[in-house]
């Protein structure tokens, strides 16, 4: 059986450039970057080069790049730091959206318990917030606006530059969780008025367990942990040199090929969306079609449940997801789909396929052929579908 990997929003396969950079590092550059001897300094040079490459992909300066263990740490760090700065000025209000990743939402929930007030902006039925909403929500006590660049489940890209401009004008820090965006759509921290940004290497064919917090120069940043002097005294612990080298190699490649990949991948995406919606009745696309991640397809099929859909597709070799991978284990439908205003029973029938440039047109055709069959099979055994059909006949 062939395998079609269409779960690139969960994680990606590593690119050869990243693997080569990592193996070269593991084979040859074992030093501790903090050591003063030449073996250590070789490793320090790898870090410097990686930092420069990553900074240049984001239009940031190397001194604004902090290596972390991934997107979650970067999100926690950025939000905690902004809250700390807010507290110093007696500002305890934070603005976010209702459909952030749990790394952001759960950090904010914790801050609420610590006395912060959080405003969760409505993302509307199509999955976008507006700069006007942000402007209207900002008050004197607001110390942070944190809004994801692109949503992980439904792929909608937020008007980040405009939101950043609002924050800049009002003098409020702006953080964006850009984990799903970096390497897939253009990210420019200066042009888009971003103060802090989180990214994760494994979403753009880099290794897992490594990421970056970008923090604009001039913002006071304190570390979350105590320890050595790594990362300019902000993030202690010996750096994961091979992973960082791999991340930089993957990011360089992804950013260099971003337009070509986006065009190809969005072509596959649009074909799957158009054909599945035209063949399968009572199916809907989650999230607007404009300003959508090139690889994101997110459907809801009425009358069936997402997990069984996902597992039947897996039996056909197609790897997708239902809601976010982080949502599995919970019995509730994803908070992202509920934030769009979907009723529970429809949100249960969700399927996300996330494509990348490694997918082929033949794979898209296979997906298009198999989805209607699997949906029909599940609908044939569904009492909910039976009821829907009876009501339709009335």
């Amino acid at each position: 059986m062939k395998t079609i990997y269409a779960d690139n929003a969960a994680t990606t396969a590593m690119c050869p450039e990243a693997i080569n950079a990592m193996t070269d590092c593991m084979n040859n550059i074992y030093g501790n970057p903090s050591s003063l001897h030449h073996i250590g300094q070789e490793a320090a040079r790898v870090l410097t080069a990686a930092r420069e490459d990553i900074a240049s992909c984001l239009n940031a300066s190397p001194a604004e790049i902090y290596f972390t263990s991934g997107g979650t740490e970067a999100d926690n760090w950025a939000i905690r730091n902004a809250a700390r700065l807010g507290k110093l000025k007696n500002k305890n209000h934070i603005i976010t959206t209702a459909f952030e990743h749990h790394a952001v939402l759960h950090t904010l929930k914790k801050l609420e318990k610590e006395g912060f007030e959080v405003t969760y902006l409505d993302v509307h039925s199509d999955g976008y917030v507006t700069p006007e909403q942000v402007a209207a929500a900002i008050k004197d006590e607001t110390c942070l606006v944190t809004i994801m660049f692109a949503n992980n489940e439904i792929g909608t890209i937020q008007p980040i530059a405009e939101i950043g401009a609002v924050c800049k004008e009002k003098g409020v820090l702006f953080h964006t969780d850009a984990v799903q965006a970096v390497g897939h759509v253009k990210v420019d921290v200066k042009e888009q008025n971003i103060d802090m940004l989180s990214l994760s290497a494994h979403k753009f064919h880099g290794p897992k367990g490594t990421g970056v917090l970008y923090c604009r120069k001039g913002i006071s940043l304190l570390g979350l942990m105590q320890g050595g002097a790594q990362e300019r005294n902000k993030r202690p612990g010996t750096e994961n040199t091979p992973a960082i080298a791999g991340m930089a190699a993957a990011m360089k490649k992804a950013c260099a090929e971003i337009d070509k990949n986006a065009e190809f991948v969005s072509g596959l995406r649009d074909k799957i969306i158009d054909e599945v919606l035209s063949v399968v009745p009572r199916a809907r696309l989650n999230g607007g079609r404009e300003n959508r991640l090139p690889g994101n397809v997110s459907f809801c099929f009425e009358g069936i449940e997402g997990e069984s859909l996902l597992l039947y597709l897996d039996l056909k070799g197609i790897c997708g997801s239902s809601g976010s991978a982080c949502t599995s284990g919970s019995l509730d439908p994803s908070h992202v789909l509920l934030a769009l205003g979907l009723p529970h029973e429809i949100a249960h029938g969700s399927l996300r396929l996330s494509l990348c440039e490694y997918n082929t047109p033949e794979e898209a055709d296979y997906i298009i052929a198999e989805i209607p069959k699997v949906v029909s099979r599940l609908r044939d055994m569904s009492p909910v579908w039976e009821r829907i059909m009876k009501e339709e006949q009335k």
Partner: protein
């Protein structure tokens, strides 16, 4: 969270899947809001469940537990079907992940509801000791999905 081979087998090849015309008893439990509904159809001849079918809206374990429950009651006297426990279904499937145990409860309830429907249709009084407990599809009182 991983499913046992037995669960995957019953999910992939559900036994007794389908609807039934002129069923002697039909039981439907669950709620689409919670993500699972099971419907069980019984054919009863001389007090024996001669045929059984099911339809399910739900996850893989909901489909597998329905399938296993129907297999366990087929050919049995109606009274024996009432003794089917969710635990027995779980054991027969070589276990379920903790978050999915409620599916087996639903399967037990679906069987009970189908038998209750059969009894009611045949003027047999329902023993509250057997039919009085369980969620009884009282979704307002259920905190399963919060």
């Amino acid at each position: 969270m991983a499913y046992s081979e037995k669960v995957m087998d019953h999910f992939e090849n559900p036994r007794n899947l389908g609807k039934m015309d002129n069923a002697d008893g039909i039981g439907e439990v669950g709620n689409a809001k919670c993500g699972d509904i099971m419907k069980i159809y019984l054919k009863v001849d001389d007090g024996i469940i001669s045929d059984v079918k099911f339809n399910t809206f739900g996850c893989a374990s909901a489909i597998a537990t329905s399938s296993m429950a129907t297999e366990m009651i087929k050919g049995k006297p109606v009274e024996e079907a009432l003794e089917l426990s969710n635990k027995a279904v779980v054991e027969a499937l070589d276990g379920l992940p903790p978050a999915k145990i409620h599916c087996s409860v639903l399967a037990e309830e679906a069987v009970k509801a189908a038998v209750a429907d059969y009894y009611t249709k045949n003027g047999i009084e329902l023993d509250p000791e057997i039919f009085g407990n369980g969620c009884g599809s009282d979704c307002a009182a259920c905190d399963h999905c919060g």
